[in-house]
């Protein structure tokens, strides 16, 4: 009897201590590092060939499911200084599972200071081409001329939340509106999982609206029935778009398609500029120029505003795009609209997302200048001038 029990016990012990069929190891973020904002989670799963799916979750919320390597996904954990529990679960084709967990700590401090994580969305060019392989240590962030420690870094595919503002005033009648709708389709088709957008079609009134959604069909439903009519209220709708994005996390942007000639808003562009400066959203303006006219020609007048006002309006809208780190894309023909949307999405995919906690923050409502430099190889004095860095110029320290 004693001889029969011993093999069974040995078998049980062997089963209990046998190596699992699937091993999962979280390789990023590194243990002991606090997690804020957008975090890229990387997992090493073995054996990789037998895996049917790998699920990523943070704090109990699944944010990615992948079927093949590389097993890595990003998520925005928000700016709060709290612990986060990351979990990766791998399942094989025969139903076996393996899992790994990582808890990132919160930063301990003697004094609780409310500091918001500032995020910068950075595009880098060199000799006319985008630079896509920078590492965090090759970027330097200056806030009010003081260098800052980069806390989060992501390159490439960071999810975004967008508000698309399509001008559908009377001047958009015909081919232009059709091209605008095509542009929205192009944008929706280029969205990836975790991207979200809301579509507002406006004139002096709101002609069409959608909820925030990552589903293209939801965004584009009913768009074919929109017709161009009425005046133009760019300022009001840009303000509302920026306000909507205040409540969102992560990379946020407004894409405005319009000739910029606001004629019916209750808000002035100076009101909106202030909001743009305070917001963390990027503003991209696809600027429609009248066909055949030189850029910037302003002979607009209306009962509300004179020609000088309109020239100033255009200039301030330019400034709004520039100051947020977005830009103006000028189009002159209807068939240039959809490519402009595609160009913007491409640019978004090629941006770096950098997060830092500003030192010396006083919440005094002052404008703080921000700049980003590239320091690669030979040191920034020699390399910085070779790189063109685009990002927002600053923010209001509220």
């Amino acid at each position: 009897m004693r001889l029969a029990v011993a093999p069974v016990a040995l078998l049980a012990w062997l089963l209990a201590t046998a190596a699992p069929a699937v091993t999962v190891r979280i390789t990023s973020p590194p243990p002991g590092q606090a997690a804020y904002g957008v975090v890229k989670v990387q997992a090493d799963v073995q054996p990789a060939g037998a895996i049917s799916e790998v699920t990523f979750a943070v704090d109990g919320r699944v944010f990615a499911t992948l079927q093949r390597a590389p097993f890595e996904a990003s998520t925005d954990v928000g700016p709060d200084n709290v612990e986060h529990r990351f979990e990766v679960v791998a399942a094989t084709t025969v139903g076996e599972t393996g899992r790994a967990q990582l808890v990132t700590p919160r930063i301990e401090a003697d004094q609780e200071v409310q500091v918001e994580l500032r995020q910068l969305f950075v595009t880098v060019h060199r000799e006319g081409k985008k630079v896509l392989d920078l590492r965090p240590e090759e970027l330097r962030v200056f806030d009010d001329d003081k260098e800052q420690r980069i806390v989060t870094f992501a390159g490439g595919d960071t999810p975004f939340t967008a508000v698309l503002l399509l001008d559908s005033s009377t001047s958009m009648e015909g081919a232009r509106l059709k091209a605008a709708v095509d542009g929205a389709r192009t944008f929706a088709a280029a969205m990836r999982p975790l991207d979200e957008a809301k579509l507002l079609v406006f004139s002096d009134r709101l002609l069409h609206t959608t909820p925030f959604s990552g589903v293209g069909e939801v965004l584009l439903a009913g768009l074919g029935t929109v017709s161009a009519r009425g005046g133009t209220a760019v300022n009001d709708n840009l303000f509302l778009a920026l306000s909507l994005l205040d409540g969102r996390q992560g990379r946020r942007l407004v894409v405005l398609l319009s000739d910029g000639a606001d004629s019916h808003s209750a808000l002035a562009m100076t009101d909106v500029i202030r909001k743009a400066r305070e917001s963390q959203a990027l503003v991209y303006w696809i600027r429609l120029e009248p066909e055949g006219k030189a850029s910037g020609s302003g002979s607009l007048v209306s009962p509300w505003h004179d020609a000088a006002w309109y020239r100033n309006q255009m200039s301030l809208l330019d400034e709004a795009a520039d100051t947020t780190g977005g830009r103006v894309v000028v189009v002159r023909r209807a068939d240039e609209i959809a490519p402009a949307f595609a160009e913007i999405v491409r640019e978004l995919r090629e941006q770096y997302t950098i997060g830092y906690y500003p030192s010396g923050s006083r919440h005094d409502g002052r404008w703080r200048k921000v700049s980003v430099k590239v320091s690669r190889g030979l040191g920034d004095k020699l390399t910085h001038g070779a790189y063109q860095v685009s990002t927002r110029g600053g923010y209001v320290d509220e």
Partner: protein
Amino acid sequence: MTRPHPFAIAAAAVLAAWLAGPAKAQTPAAPGATATVVRLAPRQGLPARTAALLLSGQTGGDVAISVAVVPVVVRPEGGRLALVVDVDAASFLGEPTTDPVRLELAVYATTPAGVIVGSLLAGAVLDPPQAGEARARGGLKLLGSLDVPPGEVEVRVLVQRAGSIAFGLAETVAAVPAGQERFLARPVIDEPAGAWLVALPEGPLGWDALALADGIFPATRPVLRPGSEIRARLVGRGLPGPEVQVRVRRNDGTEAGRVGMRRESDDRAGGLEVRRVVLVVPAVAPGDYTFEVPTGGAGDEVSVVAVPVVVAADGTVAAAWPKATAPATSVAAGVAEPAAGGASEPAPPAHLRVAYLDALSHFAPDDPGAAEAELATFERDALRERGPDAQKRLQSAELDVAGELARREPAALFALLQLHVGLARTYGAARAAQPQAHTFKLCDGLAALTVRSAGKAGRAPAADAMACLAGSSQRVGAQAAAEEQHRITLLLDPENTAALEGLAAGLERTGRYREAEKLLTQLVAKRPNSLEARLRLALTRQRMGDDNDVEALLRACVAPGGPEWIRAVAWQELARLGIDAGKLEAAATVLREATAALPRDRELAVLRAFVLDRSGRHGEARAAAVRLTSRSSDAASARFAYSELPATELDRACAALATRVSDGAAAALVRAVAAARAGGPR
């Protein structure tokens, strides 16, 4: 005490309204020197602007002119007036140019009741050498004749430089005695040959009693050297004795002296006595004087006839014409006199007259659309005719017919005006540019004809028609035409509320806030209950940076009962006053009241979200943004409604015109057309 003779030309009464005449010395002409003469050709058709200016009651303008009128033929049924108009060359010609300069002369003679009883339309073209000569000589002298019925008439003279806004207006009074009573016309002092560039009509002037000889022409305001002997002519009946004492008065009315006037010869012509006289200019100080010639009476009851003169010590040309004074309204300054074509207008083609009458024969008071369709076909065909002047020929034919219809039935013109104003609207909607442009000119001519036919009584209906036309022009985007039409309306009727409203809206759209503000202030005074006028005045003042009464004007617009869009815009602007002044709390208070009064107004909600955001209440601001972007709406915003063209007063003007038409004008047009087609006496 002396007083003017009742039938004497009351020149003294209107002298104050004259511009100072040219100062030309009565120096002997150089041997063989003669004035260059250009042709003054008759014109057909009078633009509405000209008619409006002539009847505006104003004098002055950029061009200095002076006028003299003397009866030269008197018959029981009426008489002929000799007209002399002196025009200052510098103010008329302006900057030297290599282009020909066109002069337009328009004269109306009206009875004291405002009925037009005589008119003269003529023009002259000065080539560059002639213009240079006029400039060198200092002026142009225009001579013409005016046939008028017996009685007193007011003669109003307008000189315009075609293709510009430069004009001069002057007026005087003349009389043609009805019977054989004694009278003395304004003494005629002649000017030497060579002093002017003279414009004369082709053919005889018919100045029987004032024959011109050796290039000597009457002066409107003679320049006399002290101590010099001058010749003059007295025209009238029952002339004073052979030796009379002429009183010389200063401008202040004090007497400067007396001189003897001696008879040289007597004659008769044109039913009048004509006496040539001689007198010596007294040795007075240089300046402006009046020579008073007694016509009869004795003691304190002596009647006189006066003539203004300038006494210049050395007999040379006196100081340049005094600065012309612009008329009271600056509206006239905005409308240029269209450049006239060649020396004469084309005669109205008979076939077009007939075809026009045929089209008009389809007019029925209860179906004006039928005639409109026929007219449109007729005009389009006429404008397609071969030849460079198709539009002019068409206009000439239509105005000629209109003139005939007006002579038969004066009220017919109102119906004709309404018909063509309606046609302008149709052409505009169809984007038929050429017929529309033609109709603008035609309506202008019809409005002038209305004024011509009905005199002062025709101004208000002509103004309503032009205002109605201007509204149509504005609605189809013909802003420049609309502005001109509004300005003409205001010349015809300075208080026409449709023109005040419409022109102000046009000026607002083009950033000319100052002028818009003046018009809107007038409109608010005329229509104190018009909330739209108050709102536009408030916003226009704001844009000028003038806070005068802005808040009070806006507050008047928010009261319940007014149109919702006006209340909404007023509330929005009241809130903006607080926002722009950095007073967020005050703005928030306004917005609380406003959104309670107008909960569905989107812009008020946007402003409220903005104020919440600026006040640090970001969560509430965001919630408001979510609400505002969760539902779509097709309702036009209040600010969009503001940017539409105002229509209240315009509709009132068009309705007034329609009422006139339905009150008998339509029937009058039917009768007149029938009679014209039947070929009865015109």
